[in-house]
């Protein structure tokens, strides 16, 4: 169709090679885990593993239902209260839950609901009564998962609410539908795709949740597969059991990813507009919606306030002199920068290849386009099928097979896990923008005979700029705050800030831990807010 189309074929290769490389990596990992099994020492799938699996699925299911319920209620309230003061700040704050490290959230929740938390302290001061340590167990896990995921879900759901045409609301009003009927006939159908998509993502995230369960689970009765793998490797040195658990986890995660891929839609760099309802909500609804927003804002902000208040009391001079803190900070910084750069580069190549296989006038009508599209989608979402601890175990076994200094294996494992963790989000942000840019400028670019570089400079970059900044910030924050694979590889020689914080918490150096948590929180929120501002482009925002 276009004279310059031949060039497109060349630009497909890097993306296809990366996708194939990722799949080869996944196969190698599976092969390593599978062949490491020894039939003499490997335990059978017994009632203990069934118990772990049952609890893992149970907590993931409850967490998903709670997160979607609270997220929908919050999004509904925000959508119908466009005039709520500080609404845009709250929406931005809720969206930061995506990058809040799970370790920090757990730390903040312990500060409120823990044995020595604020609630017990208030109880003791006012009524000379303590509620004890009620946080640990299923309650704590559900609380933390709902904290993180309800706010994340509310952002996407708010976008879905605000995409409902005004005419639908006018129609509902003129048909005299009640608030409930309006929700059923007008709002729920519009929310359904987002609920399915976000629900399946939340379920997967909770199914593979590690740090929250490790810290707030409290006892083996509340272990998930991920935590059981960690304990088998680090505490019991039972590699045979870890292998069995990892293979079970891998099999179920893969099935879940394939099943849920039907529902998944792009995350996008969601910008929300105020819903312009032509009339005010009745007073009683106004009060309900305002109360919901205030309650959730309070619930969301309080753990962060605890971290700030407790953190400011810390003796910064004390741990600033600790060589392990300095090493951890440097390692975290370098790993986060390198991981985020790799994520962006890989996501750009994969998105470019994907748009070539999607757009009909490019290579979309070729025989293999569907196959390559699936290949790219699956390789980009590998992390959801291969959770951190399973990947970590694979790297651990490879390190024993192939001789290389352990630190190099650790860096390699950490970088791979970080890139794979950020990739699904990066692809869902960059993919749609790149596709839109191609649809808009292909005819012009091909007819002008622009080279790949010229095309990038004139057409792609100006429109991608904002999204690139967002993806860089997102993957930097994910990498900086993650306590996943480092839990297996962390040591005195190789440590990151989250690992250092976990060690402080484990050794009851609570004051120092509060200081490190505050530093981590400030860095992550600053990068998440400021980095996208550096890349802001009016052109991209208007399109």
């Amino acid at each position: 169709m276009f004279s310059g189309l031949a060039r497109v074929k060349g630009s497909v290769l890097p993306g296809v090679f990366i996708a194939l490389g990722l799949l080869v990596f996944a196969f190698l990992l599976f092969f390593t885990l599978y062949t490491a099994q020894d039939s003499r020492t490997t335990p059978p799938i017994d009632s203990r593993i069934y118990g772990l699996l049952k609890f893992t699925l149970y907590q993931a299911f409850l967490s998903t239902v709670l997160s979607l319920g609270v997220g929908t209620l919050l999004a509904w309230s925000l959508a119908h209260q466009p005039g709520f003061k500080g609404r845009s700040v709250l929406v931005a704050l809720f969206s930061s839950s995506l990058v809040l490290p799970t370790l920090i959230v757990a730390f903040g929740l312990i500060g409120i609901f823990g044995r020595n938390g604020w609630i017990n302290q208030i109880g003791l001061t006012l009524f000379d009564y303590s509620f004890g340590s009620y946080l640990y167990g299923l309650f704590g896990i559900l609380l933390a998962h709902t904290y993180l995921n309800a706010s994340f879900a509310s952002r996407s759901l708010l976008h879905a609410f605000e995409s409902i045409p005004n005419e639908k609301y006018k129609l509902a009003k003129s048909l005299n539908l009640s608030t409930f009927q309006r929700f059923i006939y007008v709002e729920l159908p519009a929310l359904k795709p987002t609920l399915l998509s976000i629900g399946s993502t939340i379920f997967l995230l909770c199914f593979t949740s590690f740090a929250i369960v490790l810290i707030l689970g409290g006892s083996p009765a509340y272990n998930t597969l991920e935590v059981a793998i960690y304990e088998a490797v680090r505490l019991d040195f039972d590699i045979a059991l870890a292998l069995k658990l990892a293979l079970v986890q891998l099999a179920i995660s893969t099935v879940l990813v394939i099943f849920s891929s039907n529902f998944r839609t792009g995350l996008g760099n969601l910008k929300t507009d105020d819903t312009v309802l032509p009339w005010r909500e009745p007073k009683h609804l106004h009060y309900i919606q305002t109360t919901v927003i205030l309650l959730f804002a309070f619930f969301f902000i309080l753990p962060l306030v605890v971290i700030v208040v407790d953190g400011l009391d810390a003796d910064f001079g004390h741990f600033f002199k600790d060589p392990l803190f300095i090493r951890s900070s440097i390692t975290s910084g370098i790993v986060a920068v390198v991981s985020s750069l790799f994520t962006v580069i890989i996501a750009l190549f994969l998105s470019d290849a994907k748009r070539n296989f999607t757009l009909e006038y490019r290579l979309g009508n070729s025989m293999f386009s569907r196959f390559f599209n699936l290949l790219i989608s699956f390789s980009g979402n590998l992390y959801l099928a291969i959770p951190a601890l399973v990947m970590g175990l694979g790297f651990f076994l490879m390190s024993q097979k192939f001789e290389m200094p352990m630190n190099i294996w650790s860096v390699l494992a950490l970088l791979t896990a970080n890139v794979l963790m950020s990739l699904p989000f990066a692809l869902s942000v960059l993919g749609p923008v790149m596709q839109k840019t191609a649809q808009r400028y292909d005819k012009l670019a091909f007819s002008l005979g622009l080279t790949t570089l010229q095309r990038w400079v004139y057409c792609e970059f100006p429109y991608l700029r904002s999204s690139l900044g967002y993806v860089l910030a997102l993957s930097f924050c994910f990498s900086l705050g993650d306590l996943g694979i480092i839990a297996l590889f962390g040591s005195e020689d190789f440590s990151t800030l989250p690992w250092y914080l976990y060690q402080l918490m484990g050794s009851y150096r609570t004051d120092d831990a509060a200081g490190v948590a505050l530093i981590l929180l400030v860095i992550i929120l600053s990068v998440f807010i400021l980095l996208p501002k550096l890349f802001r482009s009016r052109l991209a925002e208007n399109n």
Partner: protein
């Protein structure tokens, strides 16, 4: 008669005041012409109760409507799109006009049959609204107007985007419905052709004022 007297709407700034005055007799179709953003649809939103007027009155046969909330006004409205709930069948979309809970009597269902025949869609009663063409969807919305039997019909450019033949058919259907059901119909459009085909009176929105042509 529907009588709108010195109806004012203040939009954003004090200087942007829209003033409307018009009257519509039963069986009459009044067309409002004007450029995009001139305030044509604002008049319909004011009559339907989606917006609140800062001054003036809307009366139907001497009954004051201005203070009534949207759901209490005797109005049916048709937009350019989004007139139906796409996940519901044609029958349920029409029934929503009389029963919010979709619990309907045999009498209501028979009425729906009859009305669907009138608008030429009897074969589509159990079809999902989303699988109908644009013209068919507007016919279903008109069928609901017939079932609701509200005396005021507001049309907010409902046939824009339809092919010429379908648009003419729809305009004729509106005329038939208006005459047979004693409706007071106000149609906002930017197509002079539409006005000439069915309008009894034409008003032009000019410099925030409604001027009779």
């Amino acid at each position: 008669m529907l009588k709108i007297t010195d109806l004012k709407y203040r939009y954003k700034s004090i200087d942007d005041v829209y003033t409307y005055a018009l009257s519509v007799k039963p069986k009459e179709i009044v067309a409002i012409l004007g450029e995009s953003g001139s305030g044509k649809s604002t008049l319909l939103d004011l009559i339907a109760g989606f917006l609140t007027a800062s001054d003036g009155s809307i009366k139907l046969d001497e009954r004051e409507l201005t203070a009534l909330s949207a759901e209490k006004r005797p109005v049916s409205i048709l937009f350019q799109q989004h007139n139906l709930f796409e996940h519901l069948s044609v029958q349920k979309n029409i029934l929503l006009g009389v029963s919010r809970t979709l619990k309907s009597s045999q009498k209501d269902i028979l009425k729906v049959h009859k009305i669907l025949k009138e608008v030429g869609l009897e074969r589509y009663e159990h079809t999902l609204a989303s699988s109908l063409s644009g013209g068919q969807q507007q016919r279903v919305a008109l069928a609901r107007v017939l079932l609701r039997r509200e005396p005021i019909l507001l049309l907010d450019e409902p046939f824009t985007g339809l092919d010429a033949k379908t648009r003419m058919e729809m305009l004729d259907l509106v005329q038939k419905i208006t005459k047979e059901n004693n409706l007071h119909t106000i149609m906002v459009t930017h197509e002079l052709q539409d006005c000439e085909r069915i309008a009894d009176k034409i008003y032009l929105m000019k410099e925030h004022q409604l001027v009779e042509q």
